[in-house]
Structures are given as structure tokens and as C-alpha cells.
């Protein structure tokens, strides 16, 4: 029998190794798996590479992980925000490595990792600093840049509901990166507000089939606050 429900959030993150590449869902606070990030902080893994849209807000969640010096490198589209002072300080002090990736490339590169695409050409970023020394090619008269997949060792994501097979559904724009990250990581761990019976989810409306999810833990929702 398949049962991906893990009883404690500590157990869910227990085996995350030092040096792992961790994909963390969320766009601002929407869809941010605060409980899992807190559990990762408590767990103690270090020398992490974090892939997430932002580089932490305020003092909690990802910002707390940064503040505790657990993160070697961050790959994101928008590190600088009004409340990204923890990241800003580390970056200016040279204590964290940063790779800025256009948001669409961030999503598409993780999609490629999940879909078995070895690399892809796309126009985004052509002729800009962020294309760096990447290979370029004119296709159909348009300039393209070659982009490679971003694979994760672990994805930490938040969903609304799950069944014991790990089928996940989301709520509104809190969906954002989670379904893509779930496909791109070897181990995907989801925190959810509700566990439902197998068969209770509409099979026509499951953005993340359970094949992409290894562990699910039910949490009491933390109140999301403005970014």
C-alpha cells in the first residue's frame, strides 16, 4: 500500500543532507512552505543551495535560514525586495553566492529538469548581462540563448490538500512554482492543510499527480502576511 503521509514534519525533513540543492516553492508568501522551511532550519543541514523565486522576506522562513548561515548559494529571480535585508546584508558581505535567473527561465529550467529535456533555446535574456557567456543561436530569424535544466535534490512545497498517494491540489496563485518544482526534484516534500481520502480529489483537476511527491505532512496553516 502506498502511504506518503509522514506523521511529523521533523521526520519529513530528517534525511536532507548538507550540500543539497533545495527547491523552495512560493511567490512572496503565497505558497511558501513556512513549516517545512522552519523544520529544515531546526534540522540543521548546511552548505545548501536554495532555488526559489525570492531570497527571503523579513526575518522568518527562508530569511531565517539565510540568517543562520545555512545557505551557500541562492538561485532566484528577485532577491532584492523591500524586506530582503537579511539577504542584502549577506550578499554585500560576500557571504552568499547569488545566481539571478529571469523568472520565466527559472520556471522553464525546472520544467525541463522534470521533463527530461537536456537543454533548450529561448529568446529571454538575449543580449543582456544575464545571458552571460551562454551559447546563442539564431533560429527562425530570432536570437536565442541556450538554457540548461535546474535539478533539485529536494523540493519543499505547500499545497492545499493531498491524498495518501501524494496527489496535490493548490489554492489560487499559491500554486505558482510548486507543481514545477515537484517534477524537478528527486524528493518532493509537501506541507498541506488537509489530507483527504483516496478518490476524493477530482481526477480531472490535480496539478500535481502523486508520482511527483514522495512525502506529505499535514500542518496547521500559518497566517500568511503581506510581503
Amino acid at each position: 500500500m502506498i502511504n506518503k503521509i509522514v506523521e511529523s514534519i521533523e521526520a519529513a525533513v530528517a534525511d536532507i543532507a548538507d550540500g543539497s540543492i533545495i527547491l523552495i516553492g512560493g511567490f512572496g508568501t503565497a505558497g511558501m512552505p513556512f513549516n517545512l522551511v522552519d523544520a529544515l532550519l531546526a534540522q540543521g543541514a548546511r552548505d545548501l543551495t536554495i532555488v526559489s523565486n525570492n531570497a527571503g522576506n523579513g526575518e522568518t522562513g527562508l530569511a531565517a535560514l539565510l540568517k543562520a548561515k545555512r545557505v551557500r548559494k541562492i538561485i532566484c529571480s528577485l532577491p532584492r525586495q523591500t524586506d530582503s535585508h537579511v539577504f542584502d546584508g549577506l550578499y554585500r558581505a560576500g557571504e552568499i553566492e547569488l545566481e539571478v535567473v529571469p523568472q520565466g527561465n527559472l520556471a522553464e529550467r525546472m520544467r525541463a529538469a522534470g521533463a527530461g529535456i537536456g537543454a533548450f533555446f529561448c529568446p529571454t535574456g538575449y543580449g543582456t548581462l544575464l545571458a552571460g557567456d551562454r551559447e546563442t543561436r539564431v533560429i527562425d530569424g530570432r536570437n536565442h540563448v541556450l538554457e540548461y535544466p535546474i535539478h533539485g535534490d529536494v523540493a519543499l512545497i505547500k499545497a492545499l490538500k493531498s491524498d495518501r498517494w501524494g496527489n496535490l491540489v493548490y489554492r489560487k496563485t499559491a500554486r505558482n512554482f510548486a507543481p514545477v518544482m515537484a517534477t524537478a526534484a528527486r524528493v518532493t516534500i509537501a506541507e498541506v492543510s488537509e489530507i483527504v481520502e483516496l478518490g476524493a480529489l477530482d481526477p480531472e483537476a490535480v496539478p500535481t499527480p502523486g508520482i511527483y511527491v514522495q512525502r506529505v505532512v499535514r500542518v496547521d496553516a500559518k497566517m500568511a502576511v503581506a510581503a
Partner: protein, 216 residues
Amino acid sequence: MQRMTREQMAARVAIDIPDASYVNLGIGLPTLVANALPKDCEIILHTENGLLGMGPAPAKGKEDWDLINAGKQPVTEVPGSTFFHHADSFAMMRGGHLDICVLGAFQVSEQGDIANWHTGAPDAIPAVGGAMDLAIGAKKTWIMMEHVTKDGQHKLVKQCSYPLTGKSCVSRIYTDLAVVDVTKDGFVAIEIIPGLSLEELSNLTGAALRDGRAEK
């Protein structure tokens, strides 16, 4: 002459958005266009964090922090809206399905290059968000910005001095002084605010400016 207010600029942009268009309004100044859209039109707003059919801000106290826009402000959904994940959302943009994207900018060059993500200052922390995807994704990329900086520097230029966001992608610029098309022959003013001459506007523009006004 009287410079246009931000609200007047938004209203001016809104006039040019056809009914039934799919539109993405960038963070900052372009966001104001949403309030100026004609009520008798159906213009469908895309926000790249995964919603097509974005509605206005909710009433105070009705905020839902699972329902936000790309600027991370609470919004609403309209009937007929759809949610999707980030890769699908950017595929929608990057695949050329949006009719119009309206963006703010630091600089726009006469080749249609845009710089809007990075001042190039040595101590700046780079942060691009979806700007590079937005710049090149839609069928038309429009810019909405002041014609010059607060201290009088040109923003319509021969070559962008700031790091580029995208090359040869801007087709039109709405400023507080004029509407300027970006053509293969460079900048063409198609509207200028009352009381400002083409010559005066040219002096505020960092590249050659041709006159394309229907009525002169």
C-alpha cells in the same frame, strides 16, 4: 504646458488597448492602467504568477494572500478566470499569446531596446523578476514612463547606458509628454501634449525624433 499626471498617462494607455485584449501590466506605473480600462470592454489581465482574469484590488479587510499579483499585492479573480502554474504562465507569455505588455523603464533606445531592471550601480543587487520574459514575450511591448528623469536626464536614448532587459522589443512609449512610436527609422512622436512643440520635445529626447502626428 501641463505634464500629464500618472492617472492621465494611465488613461491615455488604456485608450489604445482594444476590447478583448489579453494584457499584462508590469509592476509600478503600468499597474495604474487597470483602473483606467473602459468599463464596457472585456480586457483580460494576466499576472505571471499564475492567473488569467485578474480583477481589481479587494475591499479593505477582504485581502486573500493566496490571491496576489506579480507585485505581491492582493487582487481578485473575475468570472472566467483560470489559475495555472509558473511554467505554464510564462509559457503563455513567452509563447507570444498576450496581445500587449505594458512595462515601466529606466531607458528605451531608438532601436527599441529596453533597460528596466538594473541601474548598473556597482553596489546594486541585481534582481530581474519576470522583466526579461515580459519584455520579449507579448505581441506588443509598450513602455509607460516619464519622458525624462527627475533630474532631467534623457530616458529615450540612442543607446541604453543601463544594462539591457531586452533588445529591439519596444514598439511604443507613453510618457507624461508624448506618445512615441519606435520604428525602424527610430523615434516618431505621434502625440504631444498641448503647449509643447516638437522642437521642445526633441530637446527632452536623447535621439532623433521625427514628427508622426496626424494633425500638426
